[in-house]
Symmetry: D2
């Protein structure tokens, strides 16, 4: 930590800051500059109480040198590879999670599972509990949806990814799902993060709509600090001033995550763009920038979908896309 003080700070002000730091175990170093005095403080600040140094006389600002996360960091581990049923996520494996936005019926989901499997998807997605911005919209089939997912999973040997929305239903969802998903709007639902940290199943954490990289990694740190190390990050677009696309897919975060963390990172171009015409190009772009995989909405019949039909691919378009994705993946592996 660096404490920046005015060049006209009094000796007793400087001493007070040094003492406060040294009292909690930091070593301090003093540097006198032309316009500022800098106190370098060496130590581990993660477990310390708030020091409120900004409030001390003479202090201009505090600069943190170290990142606030540890377990997610590349300095701890080179690479995390996660095995779940027939699928392997991370490393050189191409992961494609596909399926409808919501489980609507057994017929719909079985058709979706059969088609995405045939085209090469490695996991099946489908929402049983749906976070909807309106209380008047379809909220999902709930436990019935989970049961249907299980049937499709067995039939087509596809591990299931599905969302868990609150602390009360973590056990229920974990009973059926192979991978639990934390939605973008719950990325900083800290109690939910702790709860899935106790489950022995992989967790996908979608990036919050206005989450910085640091906050997103801290959400993963929450899960890992409770003992669950199988975390997958999923970029799904951030909120910006641009309204021509639903969200702005932040692909440059992908290579940066790969520099910073050992966790696998995938991309959801369907929710990011909200527009099926943009899904294929953005899926291809995601692999070209280095993502470990994709999560893509596919519906047997998008124009009858109960939610998000406009961003769902038809089985035919998904099939063509899978061919292109394989080509790009092969180019660099």
């Amino acid at each position: 930590m660096i404490v920046v003080m005015g060049v006209d700070s009094k000796n007793e002000e400087i001493e007070a800051v040094k003492n406060k730091l040294e009292n909690v175990g930091f070593k301090t170093h003093l540097i006198y500059g032309v316009e500022r005095i800098v106190i370098g403080a060496v130590g581990d600040k993660r477990f310390l109480p708030s020091l409120s140094l900004e409030l001390m006389a003479g202090v201009k600002k505090i600069v943190h040198i170290m990142n606030p996360y540890k377990l997610v960091s590349k300095e701890v581990k080179e690479e995390t590879i996660i095995k779940v049923g027939s699928a392997t996520i991370g490393g050189k494996n191409l992961t494609v999670i596909a399926g409808p936005c919501a489980v609507e019926s057994e017929d719909q989901l079985m058709a979706a599972a059969r088609l995405v499997k045939a085209s090469g998807a490695t996991l099946l997605r489908g929402g049983a509990f749906k976070p909807r911005s309106s209380p008047y919209s379809f909220q999902g089939l709930q436990e019935e949806g989970l049961k249907i997912l299980k049937i499709a999973s067995h039939e087509y040997d596809l591990p299931i990814v599905t969302e868990v929305m609150n602390t009360k239903t973590v056990d229920l969802v974990a009973e059926y799902a192979d991978v639990l998903q934390i939605g973008a709007r719950n990325m900083q639902n800290f109690d939910l993060l702790k709860e899935v940290g106790h489950i022995k199943k992989p967790v996908i954490i979608k990036r919050g709509l206005c989450a910085t990289l640091e906050e997103w990694l801290m959400a993963a740190e929450y899960v890992m600090s409770e003992g669950n190390y199988e975390v997958i990050l999923c970029e799904r677009g951030i909120r910006t001033f641009e309204t021509a696309t639903r969200n702005t897919l932040d692909l440059s975060i992908i290579p940066l995550i790969k520099e910073t963390s050992h966790l696998p990172v995938i991309v959801d171009p369907s929710h990011a763009t909200g527009n099926w015409k943009l899904v294929a190009p953005m899926a291809k772009g995601s692999l070209a920038v280095g993502a470990h995989g994709l999560m893509i909405e596919v519906h047997p019949n998008p124009n009858e979908a109960l939610c998000d039909g406009n961003q769902s691919l038809t089985p035919e378009n998904f099939h063509v896309l899978m061919g292109d994705l394989t080509k790009i993946h092969n180019l660099f592996h």
Copy 2:
């Protein structure tokens, strides 16, 4: 709803759109323009399934004319005024909710309560369950904190505002608190919104860091659609590119809410700015633009606070501020 189609759309494409709309009860009107054909659709879309009209041949875009909310709207009610213990929120009343970020001990909270009461605060705030971005930070005294709040509330006749973080603890928090607070990061935790919709106590909904006005109002609609009509909105800053302040306090949303909704709206300048020096000017600005009140962090000794000391006012500064706030309030009431 307005469906915009290309001027070269075929008759059967136009008919297909009209039929889909009429089948679910809309009346349609056709307008032929120079470069576009427009279908106006009259009806209530709130309870309808997704129509996926964008996917139909010839359709260029869909424009929604009506807002997706109803119960929060000024068209339903002129003004909501909420009575809670000795306090009245909304209308011409000046509401000032003050107290420390977190309940740290009985001594700390009793001191805080005594001082804010003496300066004129109308409700007492204090966190028992704390949402922290790091799993390694102080997470609050939990139920013990709630008990301390209750003691202070009785002693100083100040109704309590405290945060509830998950669906499992709604009943526990409601047992002690007079007003439940939904934090910014939980603004779209829809299951939590539904749960507090069943409680018979007022709910403060803080605006999410990247929530639009519409999404914020929809969060209130969630609570109200479950039967709890006592909702208070609290602006606490949004996330922008500006890093000189922690968040950007969006004061222009206050007069806009007062045009749009009947719900009381208050401002939290402490979390928005993260800097105690900006709290007083922004509190004064909040009343000048028309807010019904404020939520302000006050700590008996900010430089020993366990969280957010840098944004907390000293009791002395709070006292001076209350004088200024009263002057501004009197100027316009």
Copy 3:
């Protein structure tokens, strides 16, 4: 400047960084931490060439301690007060610049000038050269507009504020105007900033729609570094994800500027909100947070305005607002 290096950096890597810094005149200080090595570098980096330190082996990141600006800084001067004709801007003076978006005709401008003067405005605004997002929109009366402004200025003893849009017309505009305005979209038109730095008239610099405080102050630094010290900052809203208001008026930047710089700062609520109903509350809020003044659009007949009628006040509404503004100003001065 702080150079952060990995704890496993080799001695020769550390030496290389130290040498590069010392070769250009910095003194260096080395601090060994548990997980990082930090090199503190003392010196004035403003006039140095780019050092590309990030590219050197072992370097993790560079942290700048000093601000890049100097002349605008409060460390140089306590307060700037600008006299222009009958008006004084800065200090305890209340500045209200009012008038129509565009000069449309002599009749229109004379009526506007008469009315705003009668209500207490201290300067007259009016666009002769208009930056319009569409090439098909009204582009202003140009030199004829300047002449009309001059006539009104003489008639009503109101100094003129008007926008200059390009380097070619700086001399022409300066011939007529008392205060030159740099529009938000030209805030980083560096050649234009240099050019107005040679003029002996005050300059208002509107904040760019996505300008950080630092960039905005650097724009002022550009003008001042050419010798023109009479600069006024004008907040006019920034671009965020919120679409319910045209822009998000960032009032918390006002008290922060007053901590950071000696320059006067005013607010333009008309362009920020784009909605006349929000102009009065936001004008009052601006004074309550400490702005030195306001720039407000007033049109004798808004619903016949050639541009931005929707954000213009009627003379009657402006008159009422001036009364409220005076009350708030008096409350704190």
Copy 4:
């Protein structure tokens, strides 16, 4: 255009709106809904004066159906392909513009030109006039830089791309350059856009840091409305809350532009990310999403660059990247 009115609007209010619209040549259509009355107005609004309809009694909001641009639109033309010297931009051609941020000396630029040509670049970039956020930074070699560019262009048969910063120097820059570049900070410098609209050379318009797609296309419309139809769009990252990357490269805008406009669109990953390690992945991603080409900073010796060394590729890294780019391009053409 759609005018939305309250369901309780009086007949004379509705008539007044209809009359105002019909007086300027629109045809109107009235639709009575349950909660709103909608007036559809058919006509071309581009050349009309502002109507200030929002100010009329009963009017709730105005919805624009048509885009404000025309010449840039795909409805006017399928595809623009631009020939400049040995290069062809647009269509199925892969355009790679490479070179240093700034022209620093003849030696530096000749080395850069030789190396990028050898690796397959199709145009040479280099700044002679440099827009710098600090007045104390290197501002470019100006006309001397232009002369050096010309020499390198002849020697290596590479057309030149260089930036023009103000209206006074358009003719000078156009004398030397083959393609003029409008920088991000000048994207809404409307007078400069008009001026380059009179030049008979292609113009690259970089997207402003907070420009919407519509504003960016309107900037192109400005140039084209003056008679210069050879415009190339260049995405270079937008400003968001994320600070881990310098800007957020908005790749999803690329396929959207290709749906909307006939103009070629390229990407500048160097300025967007500010980090050479991210340049290669983002360059590959750009082609995978469908961009017509790239603009990449390459410096013979990045750690001695006078500007932006940290985002420049070494010639070796650029050479490797060109190999990958060719593979991706061939995959889809």
